[in-house]
């Protein structure tokens, strides 16, 4: 296996710093991942040379900007195997991608009495936009429940589907429990009823190989910053047939064909959904991130991360008084846990002082906390540049926490 962890760690400059005088252990990857040097260089390069706006200029630099920008679109199309390049829409993040679909799909296809299905383990980004549009349209939001392991109860999902269901939107991987949802099955079931499915892939794209045609999902979205790319960029993949029918979301320059005060006509896909000056530098930076991932190989990453998660699960399970939340059969990337009689915030503060970055709190998934009746969790989330030694440091830190609060 050509997966050289020492070499890989060298690619990530942020790994090589000390926090409170000790080497940083970064286990907050589900919040945002670190960036390889090539991504940072790509942004620096862009601003030091090309630095131009796209699409509208005849001048050389603007042409260069446009070409690199559009090449990234092609690159992403290929990476997720979308059929058409114009099915790739750039947004500012997963949250905006979901807002776009909830709003635009909702405006076109949702009416009073219709139903939208989400799940109990969604991130707020995949709950609130649907709540809003349902409220606006007088539609009903239905929720697939989870079992005690944090797995979607598929039987219940089937029962929720009616001839009023207009769309299903679920996450690929839970950012809180780490559950890998059976999205292929969820999609197939919905399609038997001709219902389109949106997948919140913010965590999914990071830990799985994505082929949107094979999945046959109707929408798939993710954030650059959680996938080793810069902040401020997201992707929405959508099937042409839906994107064509949906009205524009935000409006302004770029996305129009003609504007008079009487009538405005809109541009073709993908531009119909992209208005204003796009985040050219960071889109191009995201292209570099994807190239980097391709070079390492997502299969290698998945294999390595599996081992890491297995090790972490074993080690943490061995700690007395520690309970893991989320024990799905298929899991990736994340371990959420609590220590008996210790508030996660207290634990988080001490773990931080031990130079380990974990997240504590509700992880933007309050319904999951309500489901388990807990105030929050401590969450360690992993990337392929993490090591077993780092996991062991986390274990030591947890033991220290227990000692201090014991």
């Amino acid at each position: 296996m050509n997966f050289d962890i020492k070499k890989i760690r060298k690619d990530f400059p942020a790994l090589h710093q000390e926090i409170y005088g000790k080497p940083l252990v970064y286990l907050d990857n589900a919040a945002t991942t670190l960036k390889p040097q090539v991504v940072i260089d790509s942004i620096t390069n862009y601003y030091s040379t090309i630095n131009s706006n796209v699409h509208r200029g005849v001048h050389y630099l603007s042409q260069q900007a446009t070409e690199e920008f559009e090449n990234t679109r092609k690159n992403i199309r290929k990476y997720i195997n979308a059929r058409n390049t114009h099915e790739i829409i750039f947004t500012k993040g997963t949250t905006e991608s979901i807002n776009l679909v909830a709003n635009s799909f909702g405006k076109k296809f949702l009416s009073h009495g219709d139903e939208v299905i989400i799940s109990e383990l969604e991130h707020h980004a995949n709950i609130v936009p649907w709540q809003m549009i349902c409220e606006e349209k007088g539609a009903k939001l239905k929720v697939i429940p989870i079992n005690d392991n944090g797995e979607l109860i598929l039987k219940k999902y089937k029962d929720l589907i009616t001839d009023k269901t207009k769309i299903v939107s679920v996450s690929h991987i839970s950012n809180t429990l780490g559950t890998v949802n059976p999205i292929k099955e969820i999609i197939d079931i919905a399609h038997q009823h001709d219902i389109p499915v949106m997948i919140d892939g913010a965590q999914g794209i990071v830990h799985e190989k994505i082929d949107v045609q094979e999945l046959d999902c109707d929408f798939y979205c993710f954030s650059s910053h959680k996938f080793y790319g810069p902040m401020g960029v997201g992707v929405l993949y959508g099937k042409e047939k839906y994107l064509e029918e949906m009205p524009p979301y935000q409006t302004g320059g770029e996305m129009i064909k003609t504007v008079t005060f009487k009538k405005t006509t809109f541009n073709e896909l993908p531009f119909k959904f992209e208005t204003g000056t796009p985040n050219v530098a960071d889109v191009i930076g995201f292209g570099s991130a994807i190239n980097y991932i391709k070079k390492i190989g997502i299969e290698n990453i998945i294999r390595y991360e599996k081992e890491l998660l297995k090790h972490a699960t074993e080690m943490l399970s061995g700690i007395q008084g520690l309970r893991i939340y989320g024990e799905a059969k298929k899991k990736a990337g994340v371990i959420s846990f609590l220590l008996k009689d210790i508030h996660p915030y207290d634990a988080g503060i001490i773990i931080d002082k031990l130079s380990i970055a974990v997240r504590t709190g509700q992880h933007c998934a309050q319904p999951v906390m309500d489901r388990f009746d807990i105030p929050g969790t401590i969450r360690a989330s992993f990337a392929f540049y993490n090591t077993k030694e780092e996991v062991d440091k986390l274990v030591q830190a947890i033991l220290k926490v227990q000692e201090m609060f014991g």
Binding site: Y20, P344, Y345, D346, I350, K353, P375, M404, F405
Partner: protein
Amino acid sequence: MTIREIEKEITEEFSMFDDWMDKYNHLIEMGKSLPLIEKKYRTDQYLISGCQSRVWLSAEMEDGKVIFKADSDAVITKGIINLLIRILSNQTPDNILNAKMDFINQVGLKEHLSPTRSNGLTSMIKQMKLYAVVFKTKMAQ
């Protein structure tokens, strides 16, 4: 004791600790000592919204001085609350309003009180001063 004196006392107390761990152990001890608020005040009405740990705060006026009571579900937060109460409780509204709370920087707990920490402690100090304003106005009437 005046606020300044208590602040000085606390600063000295903390200066004894060589490393952060001892300091936090001390905070934890302070946090563990007794619940600081009566059960009836542990309701949403007295809740100061903070992101990660919950903080309840009540205030009463006795002999021209404000008596604060508070609690939290996190021990470290409770420890810091304990410090705040030591300083601001049993003081006149005017003294509370004028308190600079410099000790926070000096004992190295600044990070807990930056608004970005979103743990409700900044809101708590704000709320304590707000109570002081209210009592002051009442007294003036």
